[in-house]
C-alpha cells in the first residue's frame, strides 16, 4: 500500500542551539574557542572593574553635607564637589552677579537652539542677531561697565564659564578667518596662496602650549607699550590664530568637494569671484563641512584646558586648585571624575550630533 501525503510536512523549527538567547550567545560570544576565551576574559574584566566603580561612585558615596565630616563611608565624597560647585562653575565671579553669566549663556542657548531646530521661522534674522548683537550683549553682561552693571575684571572669571567663553569666542572668531585662509589657499593668486599656506602650516605645526606661551610672553613685546592686553585676551588671540588654521583646512576640504561644474556655471552666469563664493560655493561647502567644524570645536573645547599652564583658571584649573585646600585634602579622584564627566557629556553629545548631521547632510553632493 502506498501512502500519499497530500499536505506538506511543516517546517522543522531551527535547532534550539541557533535561536533565542542560546543561539545569540553561540553566535556572538562563543563562536570559536579563542572567542570563548576572549569572552571569559571580558566578563572577568567587567566584573573586576564595573561593580567596584559603581559601588564607589553611587552606592557607598556621600552626597549631602557641607563639611569633610559628612564623608564617612568608603565611597566617593561628592560633598567636596557640592560645596565648591559655584566656584567650579563661575570661578571667582562675585556671587551677586551670577545671574549675568546665567542670563548670557541661556540667551545663547536659546539662540543656538532656534538655529538648530528645523521648524523655527525667521532663521536669517535670528542668525544676524546672534552674530552682530549677541556679542555686544554678552560683553556687557560678562564684563559690565554699562547699564548700571558693575565691572567684573577678567581675572575673576573662571571655572566652566571661562572654558565655555574661551571655546565659543575662539570658534566664533576663527571661523571667518579660517574661511578667508581657505579661499586664499585655493586662490589663483600666487602671493595670496603662499601667504595662506605659510600661515596655516605654521600654526598647525606647533603645539598649542607654545602658541599660548608665545601669546602670553611675546605679545607684550610685539605691541606698543601703551597697548594693554590682559591675560585672557592674550590667550584668546593665541587660540584664535591656532584654531583658524585648523578651521581653514576643514573649510578647504569642503571647497574641494564642490564639483567643478558649480564654479563654471557661476562663471557662465557672469558672477564675480565674491558673488560666486558667497552665493554658490560657500553655502554648499560650509554645509558639507558642518560635521568637520563640530569636530574641530570638540578638539578646541578639550584644548582650552591648556590655558591653566599660563595661569588662567578654567574648569580643570579651578578644580586642581581646590585640591590644595587643607580642609579637603585627598579628594582629587572625585574632582577629576567630576571634570571628566562634564567634558565627556559635552564632547560625546556633540560628536553624536555631528555624526547625525553627517548622515542627514549626506545628500549626494559629497564625492
Amino acid at each position: 500500500m502506498t501512502v500519499h501525503i497530500t499536505t506538506p510536512t511543516p517546517d522543522q523549527p531551527a535547532p534550539a542551539s541557533s535561536v533565542g538567547v542560546v543561539g545569540w550567545l553561540r553566535k556572538n560570544l562563543f563562536s570559536s574557542i579563542p572567542n570563548a576565551i576572549f569572552t571569559i576574559i571580558g566578563i572577568l574584566l567587567i566584573y573586576k572593574l564595573v561593580p567596584p566603580a559603581l559601588n564607589w561612585a553611587f552606592i557607598t558615596a556621600d552626597w549631602t553635607g557641607t563639611t569633610r565630616e559628612a564623608c564617612t563611608s568608603d565611597g566617593a565624597c561628592w560633598v567636596f564637589v557640592g560645596v565648591r560647585i559655584n566656584q567650579f562653575l563661575f570661578g571667582f565671579y562675585p556671587a551677586s552677579e551670577y545671574w549675568r553669566v546665567v542670563a548670557s549663556f541661556s540667551l545663547v542657548g536659546v539662540l543656538v537652539a532656534w538655529l538648530l531646530i528645523e521648524q523655527t521661522p525667521k532663521k536669517g534674522l535670528v542668525a544676524a542677531f546672534t552674530v552682530f548683537c549677541y556679542p555686544i550683549i554678552a560683553y556687557f553682561l560678562f564684563y559690565g561697565g554699562a547699564f548700571g552693571l558693575p565691572v567684573v575684571e577678567t581675572h575673576k572669571w573662571g571655572g566652566l564659564m571661562l572654558t565655555l567663553i574661551l571655546a565659543t569666542i575662539g570658534m566664533f572668531c576663527a571661523l571667518p578667518i579660517g574661511i578667508i585662509l581657505a579661499l586664499g589657499r585655493r586662490s589663483s593668486m600666487p602671493i595670496a596662496k603662499s601667504i595662506s599656506v605659510i600661515f596655516i602650516e605654521f600654526w598647525r605645526g606647533v603645539p598649542l602650549i607654545t602658541v599660548l606661551f608665545m601669546s602670553s610672553v611675546m605679545l607684550p613685546i610685539f605691541m606698543p607699550e601703551t597697548w594693554h592686553f590682559d591675560k585672557l585676551l592674550r590667550a584668546l588671540i593665541g587660540i584664535v590664530f591656532f584654531q583658524s588654521a585648523y578651521m581653514a583646512e576643514v573649510v578647504r576640504g569642503g571647497l574641494q568637494a564642490i564639483p567643478r561644474g558649480q564654479y563654471e556655471a557661476a562663471e557662465a552666469l557672469g558672477l564675480s569671484y565674491w558673488k560666486t563664493m558667497t552665493f554658490i560655493i560657500l553655502p554648499q561647502a560650509l554645509k558639507l563641512v558642518i560635521p568637520g567644524i563640530v569636530n574641530t570645536f570638540i578638539a578646541l573645547f578639550k584644548d582650552t584646558t591648556l590655558v591653566l599652564i599660563i595661569g588662567l583658571f578654567d574648569l580643570l584649573a579651578v578644580v586642581q586648585a581646590a585640591f590644595a585646600d587643607p580642609e579637603w585634602l585627598g579628594y582629587s579622584v572625585e574632582g577629576y571624575v567630576f571634570v571628566a564627566s562634564v567634558y565627556w557629556v559635552s564632547c560625546f553629545s556633540m560628536s553624536r550630533y555631528s555624526q547625525h548631521l553627517e548622515k542627514k547632510l549626506h545628500t549626494g553632493h559629497a564625492r
Binding site: N35, S188, I195, A340, W344
Partner: protein
C-alpha cells in the same frame, strides 16, 4: 550710452586686479612685520634685554630630573635645550609605539564578531577620546602615581622591580666587553634577512615558487645573535635596585612624570588610532574580500594580500597625523614637570634668561621641523601607494 562703457575699464581687468590685490597684501604683511619689529626693538631696548643666541653658552645652574645625556648644573643652556629635546623625543617615540599597539588592538577589536569584545573596545574609545588629555595626565600623575606608597612600602615584583611614589625601579643591563659583537651580529642578521626576502619575492614573481622566510628570519635574527652572545662569554650583567636607607639605589629609574605622561598620551592617542584603523578596514569594499576568497586564497592570504594593503592606504595618512599630534601633545609634559623641551627650555630657561623671542622661536622651530618632516614623508608615502586608476 557713451563709448567708454563698452570698453573694459582698467580696474575691471582681472589681471590688474589680482596684481593690485597682491601688492596690497604684500604691503599689509610687510607693514605688519615692520610694526612688530619696530615695537620689539623699542621694547627690548627699554627693558634692557640683549638679543642674540649668546645665552646658549651661559652656565645654566639648575638640575634636570631626567636626562639621557650627561648633564649637570655646570652645563650650558645649549645643553639644556639638547636634554629637553632628547626627553621630548624619548616620550614621543615610546608613546608612538604604545599608542600604535593599543590602537591597532582596539581598532580590530571594535570590528570583532565577538559582541562583548567589540562593545568593550567601543566603550574604551568613546570614553577616553572625549576627555581632555591634560585631565588624563593629571589623573594618572596626581590621583594615581602620587598616591603610591613610599620607598619602604614599595610594591615589589619579586626582588626585581619596585614601584613607589618616586618611580618605577627596574634592573639595569650592564654591557660588558664584547657585547658590541652581539649588536653587530643582530644588525647583520637583519640586513641579510632583508636581502633574502627580496630574493624570495623575486623568485616567487619569476617562478611562482614560494619560500618560507619566517623560519630563516627567526634563525638569523634570534639564534645567530644568541650564539654570538654565548660565544663571547655572555657579557651582560644586571644592576639590581635595592633599598638602602630611605631610597632605592642602583638599577634604572623610570620617573613617575614619564609614566603618567606616557600612559595618558598612549591611551588618548590610541583611541584616535583605533578609529583610523576601523575606518581603514571598513573602507575596503566587501567585494574585494569576496573576490579574493573566490580566487581560492586562504583567509590569512586574503588579509595579507588584499585587505591590509588597501586598508593601509586609508590608515597611514590618519596614523601619521595622529603621530604628529602625539609629538605636539607631549609638550603637555610641562604641566606635571616632566623635563621635556617646553618645560626646561621654554619654561625654566626662559624664566632665567628672559630671552623670550629666541627661546620661543627655537622651540617652535623644533616642532615645526618635526611636523614638516613627517608631513613630507607622508606626502611621499601617499604618492607611492596612491591607487593607480585605469
Amino acid at each position: 550710452m557713451s563709448n567708454t562703457s563698452k570698453k573694459q575699464r582698467w580696474w575691471n581687468n582681472a589681471q590688474y586686479r589680482s596684481l593690485f590685490f597682491q601688492v596690497l597684501l604684500v604691503a599689509m604683511v610687510a607693514g605688519f612685520f615692520w610694526f612688530i619689529g619696530s615695537n620689539t626693538l623699542h621694547n627690548l631696548e627699554k627693558r634692557g634685554i640683549a638679543t642674540g643666541f649668546g645665552f646658549l653658552s651661559q652656565k645654566s645652574g639648575f638640575g634636570i630630573l631626567q636626562s639621557l645625556i650627561p648633564f649637570s648644573e655646570a652645563d650650558s643652556f645649549g645643553r639644556v635645550f639638547l636634554v629637553g629635546l632628547v626627553n621630548t623625543l624619548l616620550v614621543s617615540v615610546l608613546g608612538v609605539i604604545f599608542a600604535t599597539i593599543i590602537g591597532f588592538t582596539m581598532g580590530v577589536a571594535r570590528l570583532s564578531n565577538n559582541w562583548l569584545i567589540a562593545k568593550i573596545a567601543t566603550v574604551y574609545v568613546e570614553t577616553f577620546r572625549n576627555i581632555p588629555l591634560l585631565l588624563q595626565i593629571f589623573f594618572w600623575y596626581f590621583a594615581v602615581l602620587r598616591t603610591l606608597p613610599g620607598p619602604k612600602q614599595s610594591w615589589a615584583a619579586g626582588e626585581i622591580a619596585f614601584l613607589n611614589i618616586r618611580g618605577l625601579y627596574l634592573p639595569q643591563p650592564i654591557f660588558g666587553d664584547g657585547f658590541g659583537y652581539v649588536t653587530l651580529a643582530f644588525v647583520l642578521a637583519i640586513i641579510v634577512t632583508f636581502i633574502i626576502n627580496r630574493w624570495a619575492n623575486k623568485r616567487q614573481q619569476d617562478t611562482g615558487q614560494q619560500f618560507n622566510i619566517w623560519g630563516v628570519a627567526f634563525g638569523l635574527i634570534i639564534i645567530v645573535p644568541a650564539l654570538v652572545f654565548f660565544a663571547v662569554g655572555a657579557p651582560l650583567t644586571w644592576d639590581m635596585p635595592a633599598l638602602r636607607g630611605f631610597n632605592f639605589q642602583g638599577g634604572m629609574t623610570i620617573i613617575p612624570e614619564l609614566t603618567a605622561l606616557l600612559t595618558a598620551l598612549s591611551i588618548y592617542t590610541a583611541t584616535f588610532i583605533a578609529e583610523a584603523v576601523r575606518s581603514g578596514i571598513l573602507a575596503v569594499n566587501s567585494g574585494q574580500t569576496e573576490a579574493a576568497s573566490a580566487l581560492g586564497l586562504h583567509r590569512s592570504k586574503v588579509l595579507k594580500l588584499v585587505v591590509i594593503p588597501q586598508a593601509l592606504r586609508v590608515i597611514i595618512p590618519q596614523l601619521t597625523s595622529q603621530y604628529l599630534n602625539l609629538v605636539k601633545n607631549s609638550s603637555l609634559a610641562t604641566a606635571i614637570g616632566y623635563p621635556d623641551l617646553v618645560a626646561v627650555f621654554a619654561g625654566t630657561t626662559l624664566n632665567q634668561t628672559g630671552q623670550a623671542i629666541e627661546i620661543i622661536a627655537m622651540t617652535m622651530g623644533v616642532y615645526l621641523f618635526i611636523s614638516l618632516t613627517i608631513s613630507a614623508f607622508m606626502n611621499w608615502y601617499n604618492n607611492k601607494t596612491m591607487m593607480v586608476e585605469r
